[in-house]
């Protein structure tokens, strides 16, 4: 067991899969020589060579097209889109090509590829380098959407994403890159479509994703000191979505809070709330509360970004208020 940062975990996960399967290759802007603008691919070029770890031009369509064409003809590529905001310049490839090809070809074409990307805010990068776009992707049939919150999950879910025969969008949270945790030695392989109860609790279920997971956990500790015992569930995977774990948790606690970094309108929490409303309404003891970023682009200044992104304190306050404290 050794401490590993979230950013190191990305490289470890990719290395684990490249070592076991020659078909796994990595492309992206600055991923090779520079080891990634976020240093998430450091050491891979040295270990696997320029045939398998490739620096590309700034050309997001060309990158995703290359990944897709390679995936449909025998490779298992991992492509990096540096900031998830940049998906907007190659969205055609993601939603019209990758997502629909298996269906339109009646199963003739399989696309085992991963698109990894730095997602989310908190680093004062402003509105074009801070978005949480996982809900864009979630709305399109044919994609899988994953967001790990811990180094161990990064390794295991990356392995699962690489081994998946579907196109997987792997959203790393930029605000978590420097976070560290113990990660077991040896091969780690997780499972897509599984949520994890990070902290059991009796009084309410709190669903969170990415950076919001540690913030929800911090809020839970503060709430515990106030006598409120909340269960924190790390959603981890939006597609497939582990509704069984979510519904079971709501069944135990009777209250639901979602903590989302998306702008509020049509964030992923809205879909989960809808499922709970349809399928677990009678388990609920009170209104569902969505804690989100408001419907604004992310501002750059420290004070403003902190104001709009859900903080541990805001999560704590909203939960305490809704539970009638």
């Amino acid at each position: 067991m050794a401490q590993l940062s979230y950013r190191e975990a990305v490289a470890r996960g990719i290395a684990q899969e490249m070592a076991r399967d020659e078909r796994v290759v990595l492309i992206g802007e600055d991923v090779a020589g520079a080891g990634g603008v976020f240093k998430t691919t450091g050491g891979l070029l040295d270990r696997f060579g320029p045939r398998r770890v490739i620096d590309t031009p700034i050309a997001e369509q060309a990158i995703l097209g290359a990944a897709m064409g390679a995936a449909m003809t025998g490779l298992r590529p991992v492509a990096e889109i540096m900031f998830s905001d940049f998906f907007a310049v190659c969205w055609d490839l993601v939603v019209n090509e990758m997502a629909k090809t298996r269906y339109m070809t009646d199963g003739q074409v399989t696309l085992p590829l991963v698109v990894k990307s730095g997602n989310g805010g908190g680093l004062r990068f402003g509105a074009q380098h801070s978005q949480s776009i996982e809900n864009w992707a979630m709305a399109v049939p044919g994609l899988k959407v994953v967001t790990p919150s811990t180094p161990e999950d990064v390794v295991g879910l990356m392995a699962a994403a690489v081994r998946s025969d579907d196109p997987v969008l792997f959203f790393e949270h930029k605000g978590l890159y420097s976070s560290k945790a113990d990660v077991p030695e040896g091969e780690i392989v997780d499972e897509l479509g599984t949520a994890k109860v990070r902290r059991p609790g009796r009084d309410a279920t709190v669903l969170a994703l990415g950076l919001m997971v540690p913030r929800a956990l911090a809020a839970a500790e503060a709430l515990a000191a106030r006598g409120i015992d909340v269960e924190v569930v790390d959603v981890r995977s939006l597609v497939p979505l582990d509704t069984a774990t979510i519904l079971a948790s709501v069944g135990r606690t009777g209250r639901l809070f979602t903590v989302e970094e998306n702008p509020r309108l049509l964030g992923w929490g809205a879909e989960i709330v809808s499922i709970v409303g349809e399928e677990a309404f009678w388990d609920l003891d009170g209104p569902i509360v969505r804690i989100t970023t408001p419907h604004v682009p992310l501002p750059s200044a420290d004070s403003l970004e902190d104001l709009v992104l859900p903080s541990a304190e805001r999560i704590e306050q909203e939960i305490a208020k809704a539970l009638g404290e």
Binding site: G65, A70, T73, T105
Partner: protein
């Protein structure tokens, strides 16, 4: 055979024609067997699409359609020159490119008719023809992206050392899309075994390409900007296309990197089913009909002494095959309703919940 640009007369008259000497390639190094194959392919593509048009007019094919009547020589030339395991990437105007790789007519017609015996069991339609077993890696209905995807297949072939080449067809309109430019640079930088084939049929949908493009040859004139040699070819002469294809494929396969070929041709009809093509200048269609790929090729075979009794059976055999395929396609059942819910994900289903 690469036709040097300076010798290739596009002209600047509103009625633009390829070189007018139809005998120019009579002596080219193409075997009689290959020529008869090319002629059969031209007939298959022509007769198939005429039948597809009839089926549209009868209301049996729904949605839209994009025919390539008049443009058959490009698909035939490349189809005849490609190795069996090479990859084809086509656009929504992809019937000919699909058939030219040996995909049988019946499943293609059945796909147009929305039947279970269709190439994609009715889930793709005219604009998405795909047959992986024939190397037809898809027909892409939003132009541009598929050039980048062809790069990926070429990269994979290069990585695996398979010697395969990806051939990517697109129209003149595609040359103004960003992905075209990203793809050319990317392919050249990594010396990918890919051949980009621009079928310049003079029209970007309803608009003349020359009206919305600042260079005369929308593909070839831009090649050098990406480090590629410009290649222009008479897209109505199947021998010219075959020779250009042979040369381009050899270049790409031998590791020398990508090739960009611009084939000048002409779309007899409109952009799609909904377009009668009324924007075409008077006399243009007639002038090009006189240079129709089938006329050009039949004339060559006759000049080279191929007997009528060797040519006409081909016409009749193809006509019979189209009739047979039409009847079989029409007789196909409607797709199983359950198939609407399959193959969204690799587990075969569409469930997004665990």
């Amino acid at each position: 055979m690469r036709v040097p640009l300076e010798e290739h007369r596009y002209g600047d008259h509103p009625v633009v024609l390829p070189p007018e000497d139809p005998t120019a390639l009579d002596g080219a190094d193409v075997s009689r067997e290959t020529r008869l194959r090319l002629y059969r392919l031209l007939q298959e593509l022509r007769q198939f699409e005429k039948r597809a048009y009839d089926l549209f007019m009868q209301g049996l094919v729904k949605g839209t359609s994009h025919l390539s009547l008049g443009m058959e020589a490009v698909a035939a030339g490349f189809g005849a020159a490609m190795r069996e395991d090479d990859y084809t990437f086509a656009t929504y105007r992809g019937h000919a490119h699909t058939l030219a790789r040996g995909v049988p007519m019946e499943p293609v017609l059945a796909e147009l008719l929305g039947r279970a015996n269709g190439l994609m069991s009715g889930k793709g339609g005219s604009m998405h023809l795909t047959s992986v077993e024939h190397g037809v890696m898809g027909s892409y209905a939003i132009i541009g992206a598929h050039l980048t995807i062809a790069n990926g297949a070429a990269w994979s072939a290069q990585y695996r050392g398979s010697g395969q080449v990806a051939v990517c067809f697109f129209g003149d309109g595609t040359t103004n899309i960003g992905a075209f430019h990203e793809a050319l640079n990317y392919a050249a930088v990594f010396a990918l075994p890919v051949v980009f084939v621009c079928e310049n049929n003079l029209y970007m949908e309803y608009t003349a390409i020359r009206d919305i493009t600042a260079v005369e040859r929308p593909a070839a004139d831009r090649a050098s900007a990406y480090g590629l040699e410009p290649v222009a070819v008479d897209g109505n002469d199947a021998d010219a296309c075959y020779l250009a294809a042979t040369d381009a494929l050899e270049h790409a396969r031998s590791g020398k990197g990508p090739v960009l070929v611009e084939a000048l041709t002409y779309r007899h009809g409109g952009h799609s089913r909904a377009d009668p093509g009324k924007y075409k200048p008077p006399g243009e269609l007639e002038a090009w009909l006189a240079y129709d790929p089938l006329t050009v090729y039949r004339g060559r075979l006759e000049r080279l002494g191929v007997a009528t009794e060797d040519i006409e059976p081909i016409d009749r055999e193809v006509a019979a095959a189209v009739d047979t395929a039409t009847e079989a396609a029409k007789a196909g059942p409607l797709p199983d309703p359950g198939s609407a819910f399959t193959d969204v994900y690799a587990d075969g289903g569409h469930s997004w919940r665990n």
